[in-house]
C-alpha cells in the first residue's frame, strides 16, 4: 500500500520559497483573520469546538486539550494564565523549532485565540535556553503583533486585552515538565511539583489556575477555530484526530519533518517510502517512535492482540512496519507516540552504546529532587558508560534492568518513566546484545569520544 500524501496544516508554509517570518508575509497569507473572527464569538463556543475536535496535546503525553481546558478552575476569582510550552527538548524532536523560526505568527495567533477562549489576560511563551534565535524571532514577531493590535491592549479594537511575554529557560530538559516549567517561570529551580495538590489547572503559576500547552497544539487550535472542531475531527482517525508532525532522524535516506493525518500512515511507510528507506547497504535494526524516552521497537518483532475498530474488536498482528503512527496504536504495542520524534537506528548501531548515550542525557537532565530518578538515572549512566569505556560484565544487563525497574511510578514527575523506559526496553528487546557485549568489545574499538 503506497503511503498517503502529506497533509500540511501546521507546516503549511514551512520551507515555502518566499515565505518569511514577518507580519506582512503572514497577513498576506490570510494571517490573524481567524483571530479577528474568533473575537466575535463566545469564548465557550471556542472551547466547545476544541472539545469536539478531539485534539490531543502534542507535547508528548497526548492529553486531550479540550479536557485540559475544562479542568481549569474558573471560579477561584484568580487570574488564569496560559503558558506556551516551547521547551522542546526531547531528543529526536524538532517540530516546534520550525514553527517558531519560520511561522511565529501562527503560534501567536493560536495562542491569542486560546487565551480569548479561556479568558486569559496574561500568557507566557517559555522557550528553551538553547533557542536564542527562536527567542529573538518571537520577540520581533510579538512586537510586530503588538504594534498591529493583535496582542496587548484592546486586541483588534475589541475590549479584550491580553499580552504575551517570552521567557527564556536556562537550559534544562526538566523545564518541559509543566510544573517544573512553572517553577522555573516563577524564578526558582525547575523542581516539578507534587500532584496532588499542585495541578496547574488549579494551583499553577503563582498558585493561580494555569493552562500549559505545546506550541504545535496551539497551532492546531488556530486551525480548529478556523474550520471547526468537526472538520478537524475528520482528519486522522477517531481518537487520534488532526495531523501529526513526525520528526525523523537517524539512519534513513531522507530524515526530516513530515506532517500526516494521524494514524493514516504506518511506521514502515514513513521510513521506507517517505524517508527513502535505510542507507545503502544497511538494514533497519531499531526505532524509537516518540522521542528518546519512548520505548524502543526492534525490527522483526511482532505485536498481536485485539483492537477496537469502530465498535468491534478485531485481531491485529503487526510487525514494526505495520504499526499505524497514532497515540493509541503505539500505546497498544507498549511504546508511545510522544512528541513525534522518530529515531531510527540501523545495523551499524551497537545498542549498548546507543543506550549509554541516552542514559548520559537523562542523568544530566534529572533535576535531582526525588531519589529514584536522581540516583537511578546516574547509576544507569555509570553502568552503561563503564560497559562502553571500561569493563563490561555479562551480569550488567540484569543489573541495569533491576535499577531501571526501581524508578518508574515512584517519582514526582514523568521523568522517572522517561529515564527508565529506554533502559527497560533496550534490555527487553536487545538483552542478548547486552549480555554479549563483553565479547563484542574484544573485537570492536569503542568510540574514542568519551560521553559526557
Amino acid at each position: 500500500m503506497p503511503a498517503p500524501e502529506q497533509r500540511r496544516i501546521i507546516f503549511q508554509h514551512i520551507d515555502e520559497p518566499g515565505y518569511s517570518n514577518d507580519l506582512a508575509c503572514y497577513v498576506k497569507h490570510g494571517g490573524y483573520e481567524v483571530l479577528k473572527q474568533a473575537l466575535t464569538r463566545q469564548p465557550q463556543e471556542l472551547i466547545d469546538e476544541v472539545k469536539k475536535s478531539g485534539l490531543r496535546g502534542r507535547g508528548g503525553a497526548g492529553f486531550p486539550c479540550g479536557v485540559k481546558w475544562g479542568l481549569v478552575d474558573r471560579k477561584s476569582g484568580k487570574p488564569i494564565y496560559l503558558i506556551v510550552n516551547a521547551d522542546e527538548s526531547e531528543p529526536g524532536t524538532f517540530k516546534d523549532r520550525y514553527i517558531i523560526h519560520q511561522d511565529p505568527h501562527q503560534l501567536i495567533e493560536g495562542t491569542m485565540i486560546s487565551c480569548f477562549a479561556n479568558n486569559v489576560q496574561q500568557a507566557y511563551i517559555y522557550i528553551r535556553g538553547e533557542f536564542p534565535h527562536g527567542a529573538r524571532i518571537l520577540e520581533t514577531a510579538l512586537a510586530e503583533a503588538r504594534a498591529a493590535g493583535f496582542v496587548g491592549q484592546n486586541i483588534c479594537g475589541t475590549n479584550y486585552s491580553c499580552d504575551i511575554f517570552v521567557h527564556r529557560g536556562a537550559g534544562a530538559y526538566i523545564c518541559g515538565e509543566e510544573t517544573g516549567l512553572i517553577e522555573s517561570l516563577e524564578g526558582k529551580r525547575a523542581n516539578p511539583r507534587i500532584k496532588p495538590p499542585y495541578f496547574p489547572a488549579v494551583l499553577g503559576l503563582y498558585q493561580c489556575p494555569t493552562i500549559v500547552n505545546n506550541v504545535e497544539t496551539l497551532c492546531h487550535v488556530k486551525y480548529i477555530a478556523e474550520h471547526g472542531g468537526e472538520a478537524f475531527a475528520k482528519i486522522g482517525t477517531p481518537n487520534n484526530t488532526g495531523t501529526r508532525v513526525f520528526c525523523v532522524s537517524g539512519h534513513v535516506q531522507r530524515p526530516g519533518y513530515y506532517e500526516f493525518p494521524a494514524g493514516t500512515i504506518t511506521l514502515g511507510q514513513l521510513l521506507n517510502e517517505v524517508c527513502g528507506g535505510p542507507l545503502p547497504g544497511r538494514t533497519f535494526k531499531a526505532v524509537i517512535p516518540g522521542g528518546s524516552s519512548a520505548k524502543i521497537l526492534r525490527f522483526g518483532e511482532r505485536f498481536k492482540g485485539k483492537r477496537k475498530v469502530g465498535a468491534d474488536l478485531v485481531d491485529y498482528d503487526w510487525g514494526v512496519e505495520d504499526v499505524p503512527m497514532d497515540f493509541d496504536s503505539l500505546g497498544m504495542i507498549g511504546t508511545m507516540g510522544g512528541s513525534g520524534g522518530v529515531i531510527v537506528m540501523d545495523d551499524s548501531v551497537n545498542m549498548v552504546e546507543a543506550l549509554a548515550n541516552i542514559n548520559a542525557f537523562y542523568s544530566h537532565e534529572s533535576c535531582g529532587q526525588c531519589t529514584p530518578c536522581r540516583e537511578g538515572s546516574l547509576w544507569m549512566k555509570k553502568i552503561t558508560t563503564r560497559m562502553v569505556h571500561g569493563q563490561a560484565r555479562a551480569e550488567d544487563a540484569a543489573l541495569l534492568k533491576g535499577v531501571a525497574d526501581q524508578i518508574p511510578g515512584r517519582t514526582i514527575c514523568a521523568f522517572g518513566e522517561a529515564c527508565s523506559w529506554p533502559t527497560q526496553s533496550f534490555i527487553a528487546k536487545f538483552g542478548d546484545e547486552f549480555k554479549q557485549y563483553p565479547e563484542t568489545k574484544k573485537t570492536k574499538a569503542a568510540d574514542s569520544r568519551v560521553l559526557v
Partner: protein, 566 residues
C-alpha cells in the same frame, strides 16, 4: 502530632493495614499511621515543615472503596462480602496524601517493600557509608531505615560521587555534602521557620549539592535546628561533633531558661557531664525548635567562675556556719532586711523566698531583664519565671529593671541586710558604695560583683542540677528535671532557702521538692491539684485571667500572642 481536638464531623475513618481509625480531616497518611502504631519511614517529611515529597521513602499502597460509576452504589466483593477496594496500581507518597473517607492503606505489601528497598538502595549508592566516624551514628535515619527496610546488600560497583566535605556553613554548623540525601529539610526550615533564606541546592541530578547562597552564612540564632532535623550526618554541630557517641548519653527533659518562652528541651549528659541540649517537641510551645543561644547554657555548669565554696567574708566556710551567720545578721537588723528574689528561680524556690520574706517581714524586690524579642522563640522577657513569682504570690506587680526603692532605702539606712537570690545587685543598678553599706547574704551559682561584696556566699545549683518548674509566658507550668549531680560545694536552693527560713525565725518548712509542693498546693489555690509528679511533660496551662491587666513585656512569639494591653 497532637492534632487539635476535632468535632466528630471533622473526623475521617481510614483503614491502615486492616486497622480502622478515625482521624481529623487534613491529617496525612504518615500521621494517621502513627496513631495506630504503624511506622511509615520517611526522610524529607517533617510535621512542622511544608511537604515536598522528594525522598520517596514513604511510598505506600493506597486504595479507595469501589463504587459503581453510574449508581454510586458500593461494589461488593463476593469473596469477602465486603466492599471492594480499588487499589491504585502505583505506590503513593504518605506525606503528600491527606486522609479521605474510606481510604485504605497497605504499608507491608510486596509493592511497598520493593519500593522501600529501591529507595534505600538509591540513597546509599552515593552515600559515603562512613558511619564509624560519623556523629549521626546512633540517631541516623539512614542507618535505622536501611536496617529496617533495606535490602541488606549493595549492587553498586561504580565510583561514588565526590562532593565537598567539612563546609563551614556558619559559626555553628558544618556540612558534609557527601552524606546529604538532599531531603531539603534544612532549606525549608531556614525559609519557612527561621525566615532566613540562605540555603539552597546547586547543580543538578545526583550532583546536586547543598550550599549557602553566595556571600551568605547560616548564622541565624536558629541554625542548629537544621542539625536536629537533618536525618543523616550531613549537618553537624560544630560544638558537639566528635565529642561523644549519642548512645552513651542520658536524656533528661528540661526547659530553656533564656527567656519566658520556656522552650522544652532535652539535656544530653554522660557521667555528670552535659554534652548538648536539643529541643523537645511541644506543639503548644516551641514545636520542635529552639534557639541556638539556649543550647550553650550548659557551659555555665563547669564555667571557671562557678561558685563552689561557702564563704564568709571571703573565707571558705561551711553551710551550717553560713546559715548561723545569716541568722545573726537577721537578728541584728530587725525590720531592716530586704529580699531580692529572682525571675530565674523555680516556682518552688520563689515559694520559699516568699516564706523567707514573710519570716523576715522584709520587702521583696525582683529584677526584670528585658531584651528584644525575635518573634519566634526568644521573647522580650529574659527571665524564665516572672509569672511563677506572680502565681506563688511572691510579687503582685511586675518587677522594674532598676530597684530604685531598694537603693533609696539603703541610702536612708532603712535596709541594712540584703538577701540576694541569684541576682547580681551591681548589675541591677546598685552602686559599689551602696553594696558596702549593707551586709549581703548571696545565694547563687556564679561569681559576680555581689558575691565578691557579700558577707555570706552560699553556692547553689544551675537548672541542670536540680528539678523544679517554671511558668512561661503563656502561664504554662512546665517542669525540668535534674540531669546531672551538683558540682561539689554547691547546695540545692530549696535546702538553703528552707534553712534560711528557719534562721529567720519562720515556721519549719520542707526543703525537698515533694514537701514544697505539698505546701504550695495548700497555699496557692491555682496549684491546688498539682503535684510535681503528676505535672504533664507538655506542661499545664494555668489561669492567666487574674494577671491579665499587667503590662507584660513580651510581644508575639511562636504560639503566643500577648493579650491586648489596656
Amino acid at each position: 502530632m497532637s492534632a487539635p481536638v476535632a468535632k466528630p464531623a471533622d473526623l475521617v475513618t481510614v483503614n491502615i493495614d486492616g486497622k480502622e481509625i478515625a482521624v481529623p480531616k487534613g491529617t496525612n497518611v504518615i500521621e494517621a499511621a502513627r496513631l495506630v502504631n504503624v511506622d511509615v519511614p520517611h526522610y524529607c517529611y517533617h510535621p512542622k515543615l511544608s511537604v515536598v515529597g522528594n525522598c520517596r521513602m514513604c511510598l505506600i499502597e493506597m486504595g479507595m472503596p469501589a463504587v459503581d460509576p453510574a449508581t454510586k452504589a458500593p461494589i461488593i466483593d463476593p469473596a469477602t462480602g465486603k466492599q471492594k477496594i480499588n487499589w491504585i496500581p502505583r505506590p503513593q507518597i504518605g506525606c503528600g496524601t491527606n486522609v479521605s473517607p474510606g481510604l485504605h492503606v497497605k504499608t507491608t505489601s510486596p509493592m511497598v517493600k520493593d519500593a522501600r528497598e529501591g529507595v534505600m538502595e538509591f540513597l546509599l549508592i552515593n552515600h559515603p557509608l562512613d558511619c564509624p566516624i560519623c556523629d549521626q551514628a546512633g540517631e541516623c535515619k539512614l542507618q535505622e531505615q536501611s536496617t529496617g527496610y533495606g535490602r541488606g546488600y549493595s549492587r553498586f560497583i561504580e565510583q561514588k560521587n565526590v562532593k565537598p566535605k567539612r563546609t563551614q556553613l556558619g559559626p555553628r554548623v558544618v556540612l558534609d555534602d557527601e552524606r546529604c540525601i538532599l531531603c531539603s529539610r534544612c532549606i525549608r526550615f531556614s525559609k519557612e521557620v527561621a525566615k532566613d533564606d540562605v540555603l539552597g541546592f546547586i547543580d543538578r541530578g545526583s550532583y546536586s549539592t547543598l550550599t549557602c547562597y553566595p556571600g551568605k552564612e547560616l548564622k541565624n540564632n536558629y541554625s542548629l535546628n537544621t542539625v536536629d532535623i537533618c536525618p543523616v550526618g550531613a549537618l553537624t554541630s560544630t560544638d558537639f561533633r566528635f565529642k561523644m557517641r549519642v548512645w552513651f548519653l542520658k536524656q533528661t527533659n528540661s526547659i530553656d531558661t533564656e527567656t519566658s518562652v520556656g522552650a522544652n528541651t532535652v539535656v544530653w549528659s554522660r557521667e555528670g557531664v552535659i554534652y548538648r541540649i536539643t529541643p523537645r517537641r511541644n506543639d503548644a510551645v516551641n514545636d520542635t525548635w529552639m534557639a541556638d543561644s539556649g543550647r550553650v547554657l550548659y557551659k555555665q555548669v563547669q564555667a571557671a567562675d562557678r561558685l563552689t565554696a561557702v564563704q564568709i567574708n571571703g573565707n571558705d566556710s561551711a553551710l551550717d556556719i553560713a546559715v548561723n551567720t545569716a541568722a545573726e545578721l537577721f537578728k541584728a537588723a530587725p525590720g531592716a532586711v530586704a529580699v531580692v528574689g529572682s525571675g530565674r528561680s523555680s516556682v518552688e524556690e520563689q515559694f520559699l523566698t516568699k516564706q523567707l520574706a514573710a519570716a523576715l517581714k522584709a520587702a521583696v524586690v525582683l529584677v526584670s531583664r528585658v531584651g528584644e524579642g525575635d518573634g519566634l522563640l526568644v521573647s522580650a522577657d529574659r527571665n524564665p519565671n516572672v509569672r511563677g513569682a506572680l502565681v506563688t504570690g511572691l510579687i503582685s506587680a511586675l518587677p522594674s529593671s532598676q530597684p530604685t526603692g531598694l537603693a533609696a532605702d539603703i541610702d536612708a539606712g532603712k535596709v541594712r541586710v540584703v538577701v540576694a537570690i541569684n541576682e547580681d545587685l551591681a548589675a541591677a543598678g546598685l552602686t559599689a558604695a551602696q553594696l558596702t553599706k549593707v551586709s549581703v547574704v548571696y545565694l547563687g551559682t556564679h561569681k559576680n560583683a555581689t558575691s565578691d561584696a557579700a558577707k555570706v556566699v552560699i553556692p547553689t545549683l544551675t537548672v541542670f542540677e536540680k528539678s523544679g518548674a517554671f511558668v512561661n509566658q503563656q502561664f504554662r507550668l512546665q517542669k525540668f528535671l535534674k540531669a546531672i549531680p551538683a558540682v561539689a560545694g554547691a547546695t540545692d536552693d530549696l535546702v538553703v532557702l528552707a534553712r534560711l527560713v528557719a534562721a529567720a525565725g519562720g515556721a519549719t518548712v520542707a526543703g525537698d521538692l515533694a514537701g514544697v509542693w505539698k505546701s504550695l498546693a495548700a497555699a496557692v489555690p491555682a496549684l491546688g491539684a498539682v503535684t510535681f509528679a503528676n505535672l504533664p511533660e507538655t506542661g499545664l496551662l494555668l489561669d492567666a485571667a487574674p494577671f491579665a491587666a499587667l503590662p507584660f513585656a513580651e510581644g508575639a512569639t511562636l504560639h503566643f500572642k500577648p493579650t491586648a494591653k489596656a
